[in-house]
């Protein structure tokens, strides 16, 4: 581990990508993630890489496609409306099985919305956004340090699955400052991509050129490609579900499912309620796709648990996945705000205690 320094989330995300060995960054500025570009405009040239501000987010997504298709480690960052514009490219990149990392520092929506924190892009990140049958591996950091670590492991994960990985943080993750260190052991070398990427014929073992494409006019070929993608998503579910349990060993009456910075407010509420003798469990998905389905199902089924609540900075998106996992065994509730204000620990305490009476 290196020396601790104080960094804003957006700066730390940029530095983490450089430390992870990614020297290609194409982006278009948008609040509240513009500091990534600001930071990397200085840092990437120093490190010998390429920083390019594109003319639009649509252009960014195809620059990412081009670089990833040619075998380079590449990433971009944006915020909600920008990710909407990149979604066509994301669908193409996924269909063509190219590894790349996308960071979404979410702001309030829909539309232009506002510039304050939100988790309103849960559906967009985990269920599509672009067209067709595709999935992103989605990780949601709850601290600046975790954002650093997730960015660093996102590149090898994207290469493992030959699929885009998205880091989904809310505006606060990008804007807040916390002490961080960059774990050197998470730095990885890019995988050999000569068997599929357009890296040049001199690297080829045969005379067969590599073709990176998303067009499959033959119905059987398209079905075959979709089966390959589905097999990858099933493998993600088997190998890369990550979550954090908090106070789950207690006989909790209420199980909170919450992610990102919202989960930190919930954590304070859980601590405060515990002092008052009211036990609450907190399950924080670190991967939103694949989702910790079995863990939530089992946690909800605990004898002491009377009710499950999804607390999120949206009008009820993750709650649909929680309901799917709980399978009707317990009532599933939702609480959230999505104008930009983050509920306080006191609000969460009131909401949670009102579910089972005091």
């Amino acid at each position: 581990m290196g020396k601790k320094i104080l960094m804003k989330g957006n700066e730390a995300i940029g530095e983490a990508a450089v430390r992870a060995g990614c020297l290609n960054y194409f982006a278009y500025p948008i609040t509240p993630q513009s500091e990534v570009a600001e930071y990397l405009s200085r840092r990437i040239p120093e490190a010998g890489g390429v920083f390019l501000q594109a003319e639009s987010e649509v252009a960014v997504s195809y620059m990412i496609f081009g670089a990833a298709g040619a075998g380079a480690r590449v990433f971009t960052t944006s915020s909600s409306p920008g990710i909407s514009l990149m979604s066509e490219g994301l669908s193409y990149i996924t269909a063509a099985q190219c590894p790349a990392v996308f960071v979404n520092i979410m702001r309030g929506g829909p539309g232009l919305g506002g510039i304050l924190p939100s988790q309103g892009d849960y559906f967009q990140a985990t269920k599509g956004g672009g067209h067709g049958d595709y999935r992103l591996l989605v990780m949601a950091p709850a601290s600046v340090q975790e954002a650093v670590e997730m960015v660093m492991i996102a590149f090898p994960l994207a290469e493992k699955y030959r699929n885009p990985v998205m880091i989904l943080g809310d505006g606060l993750i990008g804007q807040m400052m916390e002490p961080v260190e960059f774990p050197d052991h998470l730095r990885t070398d890019p995988t050999d991509k000569n068997d599929w990427a357009t890296t040049g014929m001199e690297f080829r073992k045969s005379d067969k050129p590599n073709i990176v494409k998303s067009l499959f006019l033959d119905p059987n070929a398209l079905n075959e490609n979709n089966l390959i993608l589905k097999a990858k998503y099933d493998r993600m579910k088997a190998e890369d579900i990550h979550y954090e349990s908090y106070n789950m060993e207690a006989d909790y009456k209420v199980l909170i499912v919450s992610y990102g910075t919202m989960s930190r407010v919930c954590r304070t509420a859980v601590d405060n309620l515990k002092v008052n003798g009211f036990e609450v469990g907190l399950l924080r998905p670190k991967t939103l796709f694949p989702f910790p389905e079995k863990k939530i199902r089992d946690a909800a089924a605990k004898d002491s648990c009377q009710v499950v609540i999804s607390i999120e900075l949206s009008m009820g998106q993750m709650v649909e996945d929680v309901e799917r996992c709980v399978q009707g065994r317990r009532p599933v509730k939702w609480y959230g705000e999505c104008g930009g204000n983050i509920p306080t620990p006191e609000t969460v305490m009131d909401v949670v205690t009102s579910l089972v009476g005091k």
Partner: protein
Amino acid sequence: MNITLEGIIIIVGNYGSGKTEVVINLAAHRKRAGADVRVADLDLINPYFRTREARQSLEEIGIEVVIPAKKYFYADLPILCPDVAGLIRKPSQLTLLDAGGNDAGVAVLAALADSLKVSQSRTIQVVNPYRPFTDTIQGCLKIRDEIEKVSKLSVTGVIGNANLLDETTADHILEGYEFIQALCQETDLLLAFITAPVDLIHQLDMNTISCPVLPIHRQLVPPWKSADKLI
């Protein structure tokens, strides 16, 4: 050793150097000492964690805060409040102008440069050596040069704000103090004061520190933490 700053003080520095936290705490500290204090939020470029977030706590202790009108509070626009010009023409005993980060953040000062020169203001740079780009003397001077070029003002002093937020220790404060002293020795900058979280003040050996220390009651906190009481 007391902090006796008076007149118009423009607080500059790189992104995240802690300007706003310093301004809020300095304002409250000087107010407690009996000074008439006013504060203006000139941060036009940072969307979160601005002086305006602490408006209520400052106003409660009698410090006037000049910020854009409430309807523009969350606007992602560079709005310069016209009241700032009045503040400069008729300054209080201590008038603090909290500028935005880096050279981009002080561009607004160039628009005020003529009146600021007439009013004999002082420009002071906040330095946290635990931040990227200001962990070396050369880095601090590069930021200073960039700020001076864009703001058309001369930086004459520094504030040492060495910290790692909640993870700050007394050693960090002392190492930061040595760093800031070295910075001042290499330049003609005056060390106005250093800062320390209020909980750590009693751990500092004041015999080794030959400048004032501003206790920091942390105000800009994420929603799962409570701000310290300002007074």
